[in-house]
């Protein structure tokens, strides 16, 4: 039996936009550019589609991943499970390039 691997994005965590990213809306779509301090890191630029833009605009340091995913489910008429999976995958990409940071998940002590 395969062992379940913990997803890097906790549903109860609260993401916020990093100050190491700049963004620009072009003809209704967001472009995200992570800042870099090494030449080898200059290969990440994100063109967000409608769903990506919807999520990005809700990453405000107050909403949890779960709350954002529920709003995605409502807006785009997909199941909550699907919205949560898509949201976590998208946020993990943003996390990897430093475009977002997470606050402590609600209900957990910062130790």
């Amino acid at each position: 039996m395969a062992t379940a691997v913990a997803h890097p994005v906790d549903l109860h965590a609260t993401p916020r936009q990093s100050d190491r990213v700049v963004s620009r809306v072009v003809a209704g779509e967001h472009i995200l550019v992570p800042l870099a301090s090494r030449g080898v890191d200059i290969d990440s630029i994100f063109n967000l589609n409608g769903t990506g833009t919807f999520i990005w605009e809700r990453i405000d340091g107050f909403r949890t991943v779960e709350e954002i995913a529920d709003q995605v489910a409502g807006e785009f008429q997909v199941s909550r499970e699907q919205a949560r999976a898509d949201c976590r995958d998208f946020l993990s990409q943003l996390l990897e390039v430093g475009a977002i940071v997470f606050s402590q998940p609600k209900g957990q002590d910062a130790r």
Binding site: D19, S23, R24, A27, I31, V33, S37, G39
Partner: protein, 289 residues
């Protein structure tokens, strides 16, 4: 050091880099730059010294190639250029990129005589333009009649091939550069393309400019055709072909804003091209739409 310095001035896209030194050989530009030399102006003024530069401060960016950027204690920027671990040249300049000093100690075993060899001169312009929301683009530019077309691509995409095609096939066409083109947002709704002295293997570079009619992103193919790009896609592609100070949030925002505005003003296309006149026709058709 001589009391009477020699002065050279390079003007690109209306910006003048003035270099002063005790000897002309220290600030000589390659012959390719001759059409860009002028006798007046100093938007960026530097002096060249044959002595070691200051100790680098806080590291801002490491290119992975020859150069790195640092912030000094007094807020100025220091760019260092290395061979191996040894710094052979450095440039200390104010944050507004208006004045500074280049330190170019005499190399023990020979080496370049001029401090202004690539990439220092171009980098100073890049830093200044990034503050002003002007975009230096890794691209070939051609002036076709009264308007310009931009063909952007990374190394090997076909920029010099495109320049040669237009140069050979289109009478009266002027190649602005086959490697670096400056874009300016004009007041109103236009974008202007300027030639630069920094060229590719085709060695094209001209101090000319024209309103930009279309942006193309090059992709070699068996049949020439154009595919329209959404402005957001075009802006992202354009950004990856510019030279932003990617460690600086404010400047990077300025550059991505300029990319977005350019893509909203000028139609952009993917140009799949065959290396013949069909590529020219495809580009002209798209630009006329």
């Amino acid at each position: 050091m001589s009391a009477v310095p020699v002065v050279n001035r390079l003007k690109v896209g209306g910006t003048v880099l003035e270099a002063r030194a005790a000897r002309s050989s220290w600030i000589a530009w390659p012959r390719r730059a001759d059409p860009f030399l002028v006798s007046r102006g100093a938007d960026i003024a530097i002096t060249v010294h044959r002595e070691p530069g200051p100790r680098p401060g806080r590291l801002l960016f490491e290119s992975g190639g020859v150069w790195s950027a640092y912030e000094q204690d007094d807020g100025r920027l220091l760019f260092t250029f290395r061979v191996g671990r040894a710094i052979y040249k450095s440039a200390l300049i104010d944050r507004a990129i208006t004045s500074g000093a280049v330190f170019f100690p005499r190399p023990a075993g020979g080496g370049p005589r001029s401090a202004l060899q690539f990439p220092l001169d171009e980098m100073l312009f890049q830093q200044r333009w990034a503050r002003e929301g002007r975009l230096e683009v890794h691209a070939c530019g051609v002036k076709d009649g009264k308007t310009a077309l931009l063909f952007a691509g990374h190394s090997g995409a076909g920029k010099s091939t495109t320049a040669n095609l237009w140069h050979r096939s289109v009478p009266g066409c002027r190649v602005l550069s086959d490697d670096r083109v400056l874009l300016d947002l004009e007041s109103g709704s236009g974008v202007r393309a300027h030639g630069t002295p920094w060229h590719g293997t085709g060695r094209f570079g001209a101090p000319a400019h024209a309103p930009l009619a279309a942006l193309f992103f090059l992709e070699q193919a068996k049949v020439s055709e154009t595919v329209p790009l959404h402005p957001a896609e075009a802006a992202a592609r354009l950004f990856t072909r510019t030279f932003p100070p990617i460690w600086d949030r404010e400047r990077t925002q300025t550059v991505i804003d300029a990319c977005g505005a350019t893509a909203e003003r000028v139609p952009a296309f993917l140009l799949r091209f065959r290396k013949d006149a069909s590529a020219i026709e495809a580009a002209r058709r798209a630009a006329r739409r």
